[in-house]
């Protein structure tokens, strides 16, 4: 299974922001869309970093003042990206091993979407459930 089968049912909208956005505006954006991370894009639209809840918590815990700080100051950069043809299994392994939860999906420099670890786990679970469902129907109806 590839990432594109997850993106296909996620809708085309990706929430992005610029490095110059203030941290308080970025927090408002996360809250408004009920998301855990926002992709930071450069003026050409290519991902230059990611600002997640974790980044925000880390900076707050270090007593960094949000006032005056920008997304560029607090984001994680560079950000690991994936392509639509990447395997769900492999990306999930990488995310688990390297402990991140959001991956922007790009193709030839263009941002196409984002997948979360929740999306990947759900896809694996549905795949697994599907296989069980199929086996059961073969056994029960035989």
């Amino acid at each position: 299974m590839k990432l594109e089968s997850i993106l296909a049912a996620k809708g085309p909208q990706v929430i992005t922001t610029g490095a110059g956005t203030s941290i308080s505006d970025a927090i408002a954006l996360l809250a408004h869309h009920n998301i855990g991370a926002v992709i930071v894009v450069d003026p050409a639209g290519a991902p230059s970093g990611i600002l997640s809840e974790r980044d925000i918590i880390r900076h707050l815990a270090a007593s960094d003042a949000p006032a005056g700080a920008t997304v560029g100051d607090w984001m994680t950069s560079p950000v690991t990206v994936a392509t639509p043809a990447d395997d769900v299994d492999a990306v999930l392994q990488t995310m688990t091993a390297r402990r991140f939860r959001h991956v922007p999906v790009v193709e030839r420099g263009r941002l196409l979407g984002m997948v979360t670890i929740g999306d990947l786990v759900k896809a694996e679970r549905d795949d697994f459930q599907g296989a069980i469902e199929s086996l059961e129907s073969q056994l029960l109806d035989a």
Binding site: S5, T80, D87, Q93, D126, S137, Q138, D141
Partner: protein, 479 residues
């Protein structure tokens, strides 16, 4: 948003397509929807079940047992089937809007994905989709011609569909006589001169898309030796690390099985099935007549992408397989439906978790939903469509409660089938299908196999309109 108040008064749902996604959705609607839920299911073919009938391999009859549970859904008095009705030709979105509260599109993936290499359209190069539809008796594909006088065939891709195609090409006559393939297909395949089938994977054993039971079956064919090059079966460093880190026992079993098959000496069977890895097609070479004569491949090696995926990188080393028959089994692809927003890049209906989105605003379009391969793309087994359809139905019921539906002007129960019949359409009901089914099974029983498929719409309709006593003659005439 329209002001329909569907619950609890009535919830009339149209489902377009009658494959697994459609039936799982109907099942969920009856289970979780208000008792007043009614489902009308339309398919462009007179026969239900989509790829279970026209995709699932004819030598895998047990898998088709799932149709029994679909038939139970169809037995619900709130269910109606309208076969032989095509959305976009016989039925429009306006028709649906006028008669239903909601529509769910479950039309599957009706075409093939392209490789985008030179020579792809030469004569003798076919999408696996066409070959599969032909051997499974799909009415639209019975005129296809495949040059089975070729001794060597290449099948591009190592997914389960590629494995099906390779296996069907290697079946013995006895094995074919136990399938439900149309008689003319059995005749054509048993006269085939194919001696070598080359199944081509562009990555390594650990990335092969086929599943273990399907691989095991390839190693146990009556008439064909499975041949794997030991050097291609061996895992490279990156793959070995990937398999280990995954802790995935099934994946470990797959690569072990491939290594075991590679070490096994061939038994000198009539045919040879070569399973190759690390080769990627770059060009189909044509002869003077515009027919393919060879397939040029580049050897590949694996490189890890940023996100950890191992993908194929060309090495610059080439090889050529002389062949006049190539099947491209690199995936299916959805086609757009009139009036329904489509996402070109993914080849699916534009949607978010099954809610169809407006192209301009990306907001959900009230009343419009999708599930199955046309929602998420062409991957997953039959059962995978169940959680997929359950997700969409949950959205449908949530929206129905809040009144975000179409506002039908007339009930579908009153308007259909009369409206369709007034257009000169011969709708096939589920009872009609049961009669077709009985005719096919009866003919199958006479031939000592599970079923003998009718392969033209005219034949199917003729057997419905014929007096019951003569339907067996229709079937034998068809056979």
């Amino acid at each position: 948003m329209s002001g329909g108040t569907p619950t609890p008064a009535a919830l009339n749902v149209a489902i377009i397509g009658a494959g697994p996604a459609a039936f799982y959705a109907a099942e969920a609607l009856f289970r979780d929807g208000p008792p007043t839920t009614h489902v009308d299911m339309f398919d462009r073919l007179p026969t239900p079940f989509g790829l279970v009938r026209h995709g699932v391999a004819p030598d895998h009859q047990k898998i088709k047992n799932v149709t029994k549970s679909f038939s139970q859904v169809a037995a619900d008095p709130r269910f109606r089937f309208f076969g032989n009705v095509e959305f976009g030709r016989d039925l429009s979105l306006d028709d649906i809007r006028a008669h239903y509260h909601q529509v769910l599109f479950a039309t599957g993936a009706q075409t093939d994905r392209r490789m985008n290499i030179p020579g792809e359209d030469l004569r003798g190069s076919h999408p696996a989709t066409a070959f599969v539809a032909w051997y499974n008796g799909h009415p639209d594909f019975q005129d296809c011609q495949f040059d089975l006088s070729q001794e060597r065939v290449a099948v591009v891709g190592v997914g389960n569909v590629a494995v099906d195609v390779a296996r069907i090409l290697c079946l013995s006559r006895e094995e074919m006589e136990q399938t439900d393939m149309p008689r003319h297909v059995i005749e054509a395949l048993s006269q085939s001169r194919v001696r070598e089938v080359h199944l081509l994977g562009r990555r390594g054993p650990a990335q092969a898309a086929f599943t273990n039971p399907e691989l095991k079956e390839l190693g146990n064919l009556a008439d064909a030796d499975l041949v794997i090059r030991p050097e291609e079966a061996a895992l490279d460093e990156l793959s070995r690390a990937e398999v280990e880190a995954s802790g995935d026992r099934m994946l470990q079993r797959k690569v072990d099985m491939i290594a075991e098959f590679a070490a096994r000496p061939p038994e000198g069977k009539e045919r040879q099935l070569f399973l190759r890895f690390f080769v990627s097609p770059v060009e189909l070479i044509g002869g003077v007549s515009g027919t393919v004569t060879a397939l040029k491949l580049v050897r590949t090696r694996l490189v890890a992408s940023e996100s950890g995926t191992l993908s194929a990188e060309p090495t610059g080393e080439f090889e050529t397989i002389e062949t006049g028959l190539v099947f491209r089994s690199v995936g299916y692809r959805g086609v757009p439906l009139p009036g329904v927003p489509f996402h070109e890049r993914w080849g699916v209906i534009l949607n978010e978790s099954g809610r169809i989105l407006d192209e301009a605003s990306n907001e959900p379009l009230p009343g419009m939903y999708t599930s199955g391969w046309i929602k998420r793309g062409p991957s997953g087994v039959i059962g995978t469509n169940k959680p997929d359809s359950v997700e969409t139905v949950a959205a449908m019921l949530e929206d129905a409660v809040s009144g975000r539906t179409f506002a039908p002007v007339e009930s579908a129960r009153d308007a259909y089938p009369a409206t369709l019949e007034s257009r000169g359409l011969r709708c096939v009901t589920f009872d009609d299908w049961c009669r077709i089914d009985a005719v096919e099974q009866a003919q199958g029983a006479r031939e000592g196999r599970p079923r003998a498929k009718l392969t033209s719409v005219a034949e199917m309709l003729a057997c419905l309109d014929a007096p019951a006593a003569s339907s067996s003659q229709v079937a034998s005439a068809a056979g």
